[in-house]
Symmetry: D2
């Protein structure tokens, strides 16, 4: 097999999980700009996600978010997915949108709130059993806004205790993926603010606990690929939440702000064996002002292109230059791959899979955007008819009014 | 007059403007935690603001925000204020919460949207005429999220054109205060991202245009007191939006995150003559998880204490050490003032004004929090009875659901 | 002329000025790692610079640094340059390496130090007259390390006064280029910390004063291309000091840390007319651990490639998408150019100029590195023989032991 | 015992270790400004350190740096210390100033360099045996400047291997303290960039390996007290390197840039039991422009004052407010302690120890500064007479010409 063939073979295996909530409306604290045609329920989110997979061939799973994607019948939801060539992916918990969680969830000073939060997490594992999902993805908005507001160290004790209860509940094939975030919505101290904290907790919990790297959740200047390499070396990299940022947790399309960084991350993934392991590659983005489905398609393409470039690195030449201490030569080997225009290669992979070489153009030609915009007329009535308010999600336009995942 | 007497005399003149929207609910993009008793209309906001002034003696004016504080009869609103010992302060425009503003307001690529935005700003000047407000405070959420999204430079041309139209409309005693912000809600390029941009526009507009320094609107590490000193030197410092932050635009209580910085800022204000000029000292904060009225009282107190410390700096000794190039001695003079516990002095000033030495305790004893929480029962009915939907603001709990000013 | 021909024609005109000091040793505060063969005097620096121009065809001028490049006979130095196909470029002042400058230079509290500093700047203009250089590039290390150390505002007054004296001395065709820097070596307040400060001073000085954008001199997250666009719009962009950084003023090879940013900057340069104006494109880098001459060649190539991509942007398509408010389409137009592999185009330009397509390989084949390393044996003796200590620079290995320009 | 008595009793036990190198010259990459009277050898450094202890009563140990403090006879050095009321403290290694270390030390791609580096570390343990020092403090400048320069992950393997060899050599009462640093002198990837990396290595090494928190070694915005609390909870906080910063690793006097942060750190230390454990409190600062000995005295005082405030926190009231979820009340309890002027209390502690209430004034009165400045005349001669170049440190003025510890 030629080298290019190997690159293409690897690209054919690549799968990016898209998040159900990215298909819904999102915004900043200043305004949520509603978009026409956003899904009204989890089934419609899957319909949209199916389009992304249809045109990219690389987005076969969809992450769910509870309670936003709570349904009566998860088997029906899984079947809906399967009929569209999809599978249900990670279950994402939500312990930040109930009034009880104002001062935290599993780190809250009040034991009753902590119990409620743990109860929700256990419910998420129940749903995993029902959907066949293997991953429980945990992001906690827990933290404090003012020095002294709560006992930073006691909150760690509570966190450890709550996580242990959930960990115990996991099945043999299930994982707990713990996400960290530098700040927001807490503005003084966040309870899981960095990879070190997530790693320390996962280490104590056991092998089924791993760390999630959200590419937007770091302090300015942080070398994310170093963290990726380190976590892979420790066997503790569970998943990515891909997005990009110029400032804070901007949640822009992955690869849009710093494509070179994405390439470096993918290089460390490949170098560390993460590409062929069970590291999950997920998107977690907010398409506040751009059209959502094509933005997600573009994001999948960006991951593919960064991966193709990373696969193209001449690792023999790189290793030789590194061992020789030739700084410029080693850097040049890496840059040579980065500077290559890989779009033709990725297009070929698509065509070999029977797909259009240009997923964006194909999507636009498909008429899907027009169809869902048209169907949304009278949305609220149809949505209410679909189920009881308690079990079905709220109307499309209000789903994910605030960005679900940070 | 002894030195302490001079400090106290200066403190007695200090006035901090509180923003109407800080009395309403606010939150992050993840969640708005509603608080009991938040005002249902601009009149009730003034009632709350009156309490802050009643217990501090230092918050005599209230900034309004249009359209949130739009009323039928501004004379009635002004009278309502006056009856409570208040005056109406700056008029703050809002060009970020209409669907039309998704891609900007006065920088929008579409001339029709720009016209609408300018129209709103002109309406704000009309309201200034009605309320007797002297300051039009402008913050634009304008910007772009993705490279290439719009023409950065053309947006500056549009900005300049729009500002000029509004400037022309100002009365002789009216000012335009232009605020800058590093980022958010735009995540790639913000159209007024730094003091330099605001300054350059104000310079071209004329003497009635000045810059607003929001203490939370800077890149990490920015020396804000340098900007304050520079703008004062240029005669272009119009106002402060006070708040504090650990990360981005966290909008915490001023002085809560870095009290030493607030002291340094107030020192440069005093040194540059800003304390006795027409620089407006305003709060712009979001009390997402803490009780709002006491948080605002605390913020006013924090400004007072920082000011007291800054007034205590022995400027003769400081100047001598500076001229001698004695780094440690000069720093020590400044720190000597900062390390002084000025709370007794500020308390004395309050008592001399006939106020309680401890505004927070006095507020809690007053029963106001219980009263407004109780009155809010049945709020939506009362609110709807108060006026037509189009003219009266929406119910309290939805007012300022998203933080108005960044 | 076809589009590609236009791109190539533009590339042929591109000139990047290299700094004499980048050919000498540099390091961090921890260690200067000496490299074999670094130049022992300004003449040898020109010899090295000639190699960069020989292989790139795009580095025809060399910036000098006074006093490091002080010589007895500037006409001889200019002739030495000319014989190698070079011209002498900007004169860079140094007001930070004398013991007198511990607390500043033209902002120093002591008038005698300020006079000395201004005297040095005036001497630099004398040298400009002798060399025919048109640009006086000013970077001031001035600032303070501790709050209170000096009077921030008074330092601005002194700065303005000193700059005015130097501005007066400029000839009709000479410019003053004022550089700003976020921090370092001052760690509390820097006297020209941002573009706004530099701009405000240049504005008052007059049309011959313009701002220098050093790409490593900004706060984390700063949108540099916005500053570029703004300064061009104001007619105040005088020059670039190119380099790249991940953290602070790292002074890495331009384009090495964030090639996408360099592309965006070059796009705004082109869009704003800066490519065909008198904006000077200079390098200012420290090659602490990598071989210096090839690193500079690589840097010139990186600027060329970013420029080629920026020239390739389909501005008609971009404008159409921008006007339509199509966020994704507009971004895609920009990314389409960025994702193009322009190395073949740039190589063609070189070949059409009679150069090797691969400047790095050609340099390595040339044997220059071996030649200068060999000649350096006994360097100190030869250097001392070459001139008196007071007039000739110190031995090569000590030249620029500390990075000259930040 | 009254509460105040308890605070004073705690303060009397507080010890801050000062670093030998802070008494020598230091600077930035731009310039080292030499100061009169800086020590010419380790014995003179101890003389200076003795003055700091004499006037503060709180600086009884001095950290050494090898090779800068290498002497023939460590027993003589220890005796010199003891005669002045001092003990020798931590041994600090240096693997960054030999030419061999250009691309790293124990992470270097070349095994021979790694062996040399490990050899140096083992020599440091030998010196610990000779001096009776208990702590080996390790900071590695190791890292890379360019993507691709070396294999990030392989460097971790080498790091782990080298550390293990040194760990094995430690005696029963000896510790290895591993320091992390965000960046500098490496500008792309640092091999121990954050607490998580240091923690992960220490965990694998065993109980004698602990983490050093240098307060200047974090990304912008990092919540350092959270790290302190977390490491204490994990039993892995070994020591502090105190200093302060506004931007990067500015190495200013501790407490000078953000006194509130220092207070919060000391509060978490006390709350986590670190004040009465074996956590070492060390200074690591560069007094580039201010007089060194009084700057170190001031730094010790700043630590004392922050500690006094932290000890004053009413922890019962704080806990009650935290449990009640009263954000403002909890914050107010903390701020009440912070806003207290503790200088009188600390002065009383000094007087009860028979010291002057004002250490700075007492130092200035002592005439020490004049004495050492006078003695330095003819320094180079005396220094050369003192020992062979290989065994004795270089002349005072060149000692620590580059800041030793970051």
């Amino acid at each position: 097999m030629t080298e290019l063939a190997a690159v293409k073979a690897a690209l054919r295996t690549q799968a990016v999980e898209t998040p159900s909530w990215a298909y819904g409306n999102s915004g900043t604290r200043f305004k949520v700009f509603a978009q026409p045609g956003v899904p009204r329920d989890p089934f419609e989110k899957l319909d949209d996600a199916a389009k992304v997979h249809e045109f990219t061939g690389a987005a076969p799973t969809v992450a769910l978010h509870i309670p936003w994607d709570r349904v009566d019948d998860y088997a029906a939801l899984a079947k809906h997915a399967e009929e569209r060539g999809l599978k249900l992916g990670a279950i994402n918990s939500n312990t930040f949108q109930d009034d009880d969680y104002k001062l935290g969830s599993i780190c809250h000073p009040d034991a009753a709130v902590r119990r409620k939060a743990v109860g929700h997490l256990l419910e998420c594992v129940d749903i995993m059993d029902a959907t066949g999902s293997k991953d429980l993805k945990l992001w906690f908005a827990d933290g404090t806004n003012y020095p002294g507001q709560d006992d930073i160290r006691a909150r760690q004790d509570r966190l450890a205790e709550g996580l242990a209860q959930v960990y115990e509940r996991l099945g043999d094939d299930q994982r707990m993926l713990l996400e960290y975030k530098f700040f927001e919505p807490a503005f003084y101290a966040t309870d899981v603010p960095d990879w070190g904290t997530a790693y320390a907790h996962c280490l104590k919990l056991g092998p089924k606990a791993q760390v999630v790297v959200d590419t937007g959740h770091h302090a300015p200047g942080t070398n994310i690929e170093f963290i990726v390499a380190t976590l892979l070396r420790e066997g503790k990299l569970g998943a990515f939440d891909f997005n990009s940022r110029f400032y804070a947790d901007d949640d822009l399309m992955v690869g849009a702000a710093d494509p070179f960084q994405l390439f470096r991350i993918m290089y460390e993934v490949i170098r560390g064996g993460g590409f062929t392991s069970d590291v999950a590659f997920m998107l977690d983005q907010c398409h506040n002002i751009e059209a959502k489905i094509p933005a997600i398609i573009r994001s999948v393409m960006n991951v593919q292109e960064a991966t193709a470039k990373a696969l193209l690195v001449d690792r023999d030449a790189l290793g030789a230059a590194q061992r020789a201490g030739d700084v410029l030569a080693a850097n040049a080997v890496l840059m040579d791959a980065y500077n290559t225009d890989v779009r033709p290669v990725v297009a070929e992979v698509r065509e070999e899979l029977g797909l259009d070489a240009d997923p964006i153009a194909a999507y636009h030609r498909s008429g899907w955007a027009q169809k869902i915009a048209a169907e949304q007329v009278g949305a609220s009535e149809r949505q209410c008819a679909g189920g009881s308010e308690g079990l079905r999600p709220p109307p499309r336009l209000r789903i994910a009014a605030h960005s679900p995942w940070a």
